[in-house]
């Protein structure tokens, strides 16, 4: 139990203030301003983790006098274990993104303020206990990332940003429709997630199915999982390093968190969990095969996101405590690991001015720290013991085996599949000593600090899982 102090309000307020201050600061100072504000947010989140760990549970709820009775909307925030882990991860990834992501120091003011806006949206979304607020923060986040891709990406960013916004707005409109339907079919019209979760059984079955499908497709698009994944590889290839870190690190978790909510909220979710599991399995296998023909290092990492999110969906649709805890843990781990991978990919692009693995050779001899961090990042993604992803994966598959018996272990194969390709890439491009690509530039201290922070959290949550898992009563 955390003491009654308005942590979430403080977080949101300080980030909102940060956006304003960044926008009016000078171009050369804006990054520092962003580091201060997002660092402050990170410290608050860390303090909350400390309080949660010492007291053994996370249960925060705050309400504010902003109130729209017409929709029954209050500014009511709460943090469950799942949402707390994700919000915690979001503050750290956003901090590292501002600190280290913009290696070429381009358009720092606009980039920093967009990142702060996105962080604001992410924390608001994870903390909101009201579907209407959830939707509002969702759209703010999507718009912030749209501008992030469009303004700061590479050559074909226009097309990628268009694709991204079309998919995401499609998802958000389905979500809106679902939210309105759920509002009308709860006994007392309400958007409150807790209220809906306790009263959803009274919604008629057909309507529950419709609402479930609307939410499901919306979150599926955002996660993304096959067949709605088409926006992601392109968005990643064209986005800047910062954009990619936020996209894979935090935005995909919007959908993941939504799925957790959906399966806890609607009882009909149980009935469809087998089909969802089948879809997640298909997605994981299909994307693993897709991944094996990619040559662009950012594209490869982007595809691993889809595989990971498919596995997380697999854990969520097991609909039991272990599976859900595993999914939350895997999302936390994936956020750190994928941010680390995109950061190293950005560094490699910066150092060698090249992203194609067929042309990159001997990274280790010219960019040693980046090469070893990349190795660690790949290990962390594939769930090697002592890293956080290991705990997440093992919990997911325990949950899945409980729910689907032995078939629950099938997607485990995909981790080996994409892991094998990543090790092949490492072997070929990073640790081959026969020929060397010559560097054109070097990375600075901020990038190394960024690596260190992300690695610290990957190993922290890998080595000390039980502290956090206490929240879930696993």
């Amino acid at each position: 139990m955390i003491e009654p102090f308005p942590f979430i309000g403080l977080l949101l307020f300080s980030l909102a203030a940060g956006i304003v201050v960044t926008m009016i600061s000078e171009e050369t100072h804006s990054r520092r301003v962003g580091i201060i504000f997002s660092g402050f947010a990170m410290l608050i989140a860390f303090y909350m983790l400390y309080l949660g760990v010492t007291s053994g549970s996370i249960n925060v709820s705050e309400s504010y006098p902003y109130y729209i009775p017409t929709f029954g909307i209050q500014f009511l925030f709460q943090l469950t274990p799942v949402s707390f882990l994700l919000a915690f991860m979001a503050t750290i990834v956003a901090f590292v993104t501002i600190l280290a992501g913009n290696i070429d120091r381009e358009e720092e003011r606009i980039a920093t303020s967009l990142i702060l806006l996105f962080e604001f949206a992410a924390i608001g979304l994870f903390a909101s206990s009201n579907l209407f607020l959830f939707f509002i923060f969702w759209d703010i986040g999507v718009i912030a990332l749209f501008f992030m891709i469009y303004l700061l990406g590479s050559a074909n960013r226009r097309r990628a940003a268009m694709k991204f916004i079309i998919y995401e707005i499609f998802a958000s409109l389905l979500l809106l429709f679902g939210i309105i339907l759920i509002y009308f079919y709860t006994p007392v019209h309400s958007f409150n997630i807790n209220y809906i979760a306790t009263n959803a059984y009274s919604i008629p079955g057909n309507m529950q199915t419709l609402i479930f499908l609307l939410f499901f497709v919306a979150f599926l698009t955002n996660m993304p999982v096959f067949p709605m994944h088409l926006w992601l590889p392109e968005a990643h290839t064209e986005a800047s390093t910062q954009g990619s870190m936020l996209l894979s690190g935090i935005l995909t978790k919007f959908g993941g968190y939504g799925m957790v909510l959906l399966f806890t909220m609607l009882p009909i979710g149980q009935a469809y969990s087998v089909y969802v599991a089948a879809l997640a399995t298909v997605s994981a296998f299909y994307i693993s095969f897709m991944l094996m023909v990619q040559n662009d290092i950012k594209r490869i990492i982007a595809y691993t996101t889809i595989v990971e999110m498919s596995i997380i969906l697999f854990g969520i649709c097991a609909v039991n405590t272990v599976g859900t805890a595993g999914a939350a843990y895997a999302m936390l781990a994936h956020g750190f690991a994928i941010a680390l991978l995109f950061l190293t990919a950005g560094s490699i692009k910066h150092i060698f001015a090249e992203r194609d693995i067929r042309l990159l050779r001997g990274i280790v001899s010219n960019a040693t720290s980046t090469a070893y961090v990349l190795l660690t990042g790949v290990l962390a993604t594939t769930g090697i013991p002592l890293t956080a992803a290991f705990i997440g994966d093992i919990l997911i598959f325990i949950g899945a085996v409980q729910a689907f018996s032995i078939y629950g272990a099938i997607p485990l194969v995909t981790i080996i599949m994409f892991g094998a390709y990543l090790y092949y890439v490492l072997n070929k491009s990073v640790f081959s000593a026969k020929e060397e690509t010559s560097p054109v530039d070097y990375i600075g201290m901020p990038q190394k600090v960024g690596y260190a922070i992300l690695l610290f959290f990957i190993f922290l949550f890998g080595l000390l899982p039980f502290v956090v898992l206490n929240f879930f009563n696993v």
């Binding site: 509002i136 809106l176 009308f184």
Partner: protein, 467 residues
């Protein structure tokens, strides 16, 4: 002895008359600044008085033709605010501000008449008073606007004829032409003539409200007219037609709500699709906004299809939201047009030459798409919820599909503006900047904290139903 209520209630008609007189006086003294200050002051007086009467819930009937009640005061307030903005725009950008101001006096009088109408004749006169001077406004502002003016003039004449015929058709059923008089079925079976009259009313008002089969003039006229008058047409004239529809359908023809509900379902669907589909292929930005305004009219019609007090509340909110969005957008577009930036390809890299213009246009367009927490989102949300509470799920699905389509063409403009192109700086003049800032503040604040304004809309809708 007359009490303050009845004295105050005469202020709005009096000021509207004064507006016409001041407008004509302007032709004599030929002082632009004096003219601007006096018309703005009169509009401000009207706005403040109507706000006072709205907040205190005063009601009065003036000579059996105009009524002061919360619905009318809400719209008098909205129209006077919008007219102040358009007046400011025209002061900075009209070739012939004095004649614009004179004609605006008539237009304003017509708008207030429709908003306060208590009889069908007042609606007819108000619409007439409003639409004919608009045609002359377009005509006097430059030489290339003759075609647009001609189109508007002919169509306004047709629409007035239709409304007059509609009034004639329900006259046999009605003891008087007051809005509140109950329609009695005098022997003719089923009241088919009343339904016919309703169709004629809707068709006649659809010209101005830009609902589907009667909106083909909109893009030509919006494109041909100078930007300040386009803002007037899209921001205010259109809304006046919706107000007249409220008064006719929700008061006079309330017993026939199942019929007009079906009618507006169809109108909403075809109008949304027409506007959005046509907007997809536009290259001229003004034309694009014209088509987007048509699709927005389709959204407003959803509230009519819901045919409930909740529906009219939602429509009222969306009408107000669209007023601010479109006036702000056309203000920026007007300024760009004067710099000869008209087509989508000219908009490339606008953000580098004037960041403020690109930012405000982006806010207005995001609001039109319905992105939270902007005003357009709250309006759409209210409309969708009202339609679902009336059981019209399919209509909501279609509206959502349309919102999705609209992302593409608004996105095109946003994309063009933020493309990285080196361009020289352009500075914005104060009239456009002021109008854009005021509209943006409305869109942001009433979107972020909508409750007071939703309450106002629901009070207005409630007072309409008990008139």
């Amino acid at each position: 002895m007359p009490d303050t209520t009845s004295l105050l209630s005469y202020v709005v008609p009096l000021c509207a008359t004064l507006l016409i007189i001041v407008g004509m006086a302007g032709m004599l003294h030929k002082n632009r600044r004096l003219q601007f200050v006096s018309t703005t002051a009169l509009l401000a007086v009207i706005g403040m008085v109507s706000l006072y009467m709205f907040l205190n819930g005063l009601s009065a009937i003036i000579m059996d033709s105009l009524a002061v009640y919360q619905f009318s005061m809400f719209f008098v307030l909205l129209f006077s605010t919008a007219l102040i903005l358009v007046n400011l725009l025209s002061y900075g950008h009209s070739n012939d501000y004095l004649s614009f101001s004179m004609l605006m006096g008539f237009v304003a009088a017509g708008m207030f008449t429709v908003a306060m109408a208590y009889s069908l004749i007042a609606i007819l006169l108000g619409i007439e008073l409003m639409s004919l001077p608009t045609a002359f406004m377009i005509l006097i502002n430059g030489k290339h606007h003759v075609e647009a003016a001609m189109k508007l003039f002919v169509l306004a004449a047709i629409s007035i004829a239709m409304i007059a015929f509609a009034i004639a058709l329900i006259f046999p059923y009605s003891p008087s032409l007051l809005l509140t008089s109950n329609l009695v079925n005098s022997g003719m079976k089923g009241g088919y003539l009343i339904v016919l009259s309703m169709l004629l009313f809707v068709s006649g008002l659809s010209f101005d409200a830009s609902l589907f089969p009667f909106n083909l003039w909109i893009p030509d006229v919006y494109q041909g007219a100078p930007g300040n008058i386009t803002a007037l047409l899209a921001g205010v004239n259109k809304k006046v037609a919706f107000v007249a529809l409220f008064e006719v359908l929700f008061v006079v023809m309330l017993p026939y709500s199942p019929q007009f509900s079906v009618l507006f379902e169809i109108l909403a669907v075809v109008t949304m699709f027409f506007g959005n589909m046509a907007a997809l292929v536009q290259e001229n930005v003004k034309r694009l906004f014209a088509y987007s305004a048509i699709s927005q009219a389709g959204y407003i019609a959803i509230g009519f299809a819901a045919a409930s007090q909740y529906g009219s509340e939602a429509s009222i909110y969306q009408i107000a939201a669209h007023t601010f969005m479109i006036i702000g957008a056309f203000a920026v577009v007007l300024w760009l047009e004067e710099k000869n930036i008209k087509d989508l390809k000219d908009y490339n890299g606008l953000a580098t030459s004037n960041g403020f213009a690109a930012f405000t246009l982006t806010i207005f367009m995001l609001s039109m798409i319905g992105i939270p927490p902007l005003m357009g989102f709250i309006g759409k949300f209210l409309l969708f919820t009202s339609a679902i509470s009336a059981g019209e799920i399919i209509l909501v699905v279609i509206a959502i599909v349309n919102s999705f389509i609209s992302v593409y063409y608004y996105g095109k403009v946003i994309f063009a503006m933020y493309a990285k192109r080196p361009r020289e700086q352009m500075s914005m003049d104060w009239t456009v900047a002021t109008v854009a800032i005021i509209c943006m503040l409305f869109v942001l604040l009433l979107g972020a904290y909508p409750q007071p304004f939703i309450n106002a809309a629901s009070i207005a809708a409630g007072s309409l139903s008990v008139l």
